[in-house]
């Protein structure tokens, strides 16, 4: 049996100064080569978990193994095989995207010619060639974010840890990064990322871990997670129905100003037909990861 990419056993993390318990006994195993996504609301413990895996932060109790190495006792071995893109990181203002990627590779011990080749390759993949010699303080936020992603990807590490890599990017740039992440997995190694974008998690992930209040509440691929929710169809309704009426068609979930009815396909069709009769808008579709996430988060709270 192959070695898990990451294995944690009863992992806890308590921040002494804030007095908060960020992780409350997380036991998980990520296997095979692929994209693993850690999902959760703000403060769920995603970044804490990622930073412990990345050997940046010590856990309070528990064990962590990364690529078969004990991340607490063998941090040096882990660090040789991983690379990280931190959340809300930024670039050095007078340095160019080329400088960031090239010198990071050189500092990591990559030879001059290999560093040059890898830098150019990643610049092309992330569409940074046109601005690769422009100072970072003259780049847009999106280009700086892509430079950060490039710094991580150019290392060709066995495990890439990306903390919200597409935060603040436009939809096209996000899709480009998704493509590059998928390619990375096929060629070099695995990627663990955190994100708030459920669509991103659904498109990219081979395996998803959902955290809530420092605990793992679900793990599996997209299909397995969708199976957690009994109903397979949803209808989004904006107006024209009372809550009681909607509840008669299925389970009502209220998210901000939107009301969703989770139900079976037949009842969904009946609700849509009724909406048409009443002249109000209603949309039906199969359930998405978003519905699973909302359902699990609601259950937890």
């Amino acid at each position: 049996m192959s070695i898990p990419i990451v294995k944690t056993v009863e992992l806890t993390k308590r921040y002494q100064r804030a007095g908060t318990l960020a992780l409350a006994g997380v036991t998980l195993e990520l296997n095979g080569q692929g994209v693993f996504t850690i999902l959760g609301r703000n403060g769920a413990g995603k970044t804490t978990l990622l930073r412990i895996i990345a050997t940046q932060l010590m856990p309070t109790t528990g064990q962590v193994f990364v690529l078969g190495f004990d991340a607490i006792k063998e941090a040096k071995m882990v660090r040789r095989n991983i690379t990280v893109m931190p959340q809300e990181g930024s670039t050095l203002p007078p340095l160019t995207p080329w400088d960031h990627v090239y010198y990071l590779l050189r500092v990591r011990g990559v030879s001059k010619s290999d560093a040059e080749d890898s830098t150019l390759e990643v610049m092309q993949k992330l569409d940074l060639v046109d601005c690769m010699h422009v100072h970072a303080d003259q780049l847009s936020g999106g280009l700086r974010q892509r430079t950060m992603v490039a710094m991580a990807m150019a290392t060709k590490a066995r495990l890439l840890l990306l903390d919200e890599p597409t935060l603040g990017l436009d939809p096209l740039s996000r899709r480009r990064i998704w493509k590059v992440i998928r390619e990375y997995c096929k060629t070099y190694g695995s990627v663990i990322l955190t994100t708030h974008y459920l669509e991103e998690a659904e498109v990219l992930s081979d395996d998803i871990v959902i955290l809530s209040k420092g605990k793992m509440i679900a793990q599996g691929n997209v299909d397995a997670l969708k199976n957690i929710v009994e109903e397979k169809t949803k209808v989004e309704v904006y107006e024209g129905f009372t809550d009681e009426e909607l509840q008669s068609y299925g389970r009502l979930v209220v998210v901000a100003d939107r009301r969703r009815v989770l139900t079976d396909p037949r009842a969904a069709q009946e609700l849509v037909n009724e909406a048409i009769t009443r002249g109000v808008k209603a949309q039906t579709s199969p359930i998405t990861l978003d519905d699973v996430f909302v359902d699990l988060a609601e259950e937890e709270s």
Partner: protein, 243 residues
């Protein structure tokens, strides 16, 4: 990696930055030269040798203290330290690399001050002292700076600690002025500050003060032991991986 990583980090954070942002040089220059100017204006020409030696030493102390600001910024603002922690780069490589980078910013000032200092009559050992003592001081202060930077919770505290450290290591001790000026009851306090010994050795090499052999040996030992301990402290006790 080791030396190669240190040089590359220094080049990246120091030379490249300075080449494209000359303004960065000004602040490290400004304080020592301002104090030198004030001593000259207020105390006259007789204060100049002490003040010249003080300004020269303060540039190295400043380079070490600046490590705090840059490392706190790298850690809390741009998160570059996080990237390096999760890489084969060691805490020592990083500390030495950033410390090396700071020397680029102070090097024009060092060259400017070396010109008048080389006009002093010096022995070969004096010349050695003029080069080596400031470098040991830079290493020592950089190590202290790195140690503090890893515990500082935010950028603003980083600026505050570096200002305080500059005060304790460069402004208050007898760097710019003779130690005899300090009341004898306070003098032991000055002697526990390592930069006092660096200043004494430097001034002796320039013929500004006279030290007995025992005093010279004591100051050298104090400086070497203190810098070794601070480097060991930085490597083993700094919070490279957060707890």
């Amino acid at each position: 990696m080791g030396l190669k990583s240190i040089v590359l980090l220094g080049y990246m954070f120091g030379f490249l930055w300075l080449r494209r942002n000359l303004l960065s040089m000004v602040w490290l220059f400004s304080t020592p030269f301002t104090i030198l100017f004030l001593f000259y204006v207020i105390a006259g020409e007789s204060a100049l040798p002490n003040a010249l030696a003080g300004a020269y030493l303060m540039l190295f102390i400043g380079a070490g203290v600046a490590v705090i600001g840059d490392e706190v910024w790298n850690k809390h603002e741009i998160k570059l330290q996080d990237i390096l922690v999760a890489s084969p780069v060691t805490a020592f490589d990083y500390m030495a690399g950033i410390a090396f980078a700071e020397l680029f910013f102070t090097s024009p000032g060092i060259i400017l001050l070396l010109i008048p200092l080389l006009l002093f009559k010096m022995t070969a050992f004096g010349m050695f002292t003029l080069i080596v003592v400031p470098l040991i001081t830079w290493m020592l202060v950089s190590a202290i700076g790195f140690y503090f930077s890893t515990y500082v919770p935010n950028t603003r505290n980083g600026w505050q600690i570096s200002t305080l450290l500059n005060l304790v290591l460069a402004i208050l001790p007898p760097i710019f002025y003779p130690i005899e000026v300090i009341p004898s009851v306070l003098r032991p306090l000055a002697y526990i500050i390592p930069t006092t010994h660096a200043a004494l050795l430097l001034k002796e090499s320039l013929g500004i003060v006279t030290l007995t052999l025992a005093e010279t040996v004591f100051s050298w030992l104090f400086l070497i032991i203190f810098s070794t301990l601070s480097t060991v402290l930085a490597i083993h006790k700094a919070q490279w991986r957060e707890s």
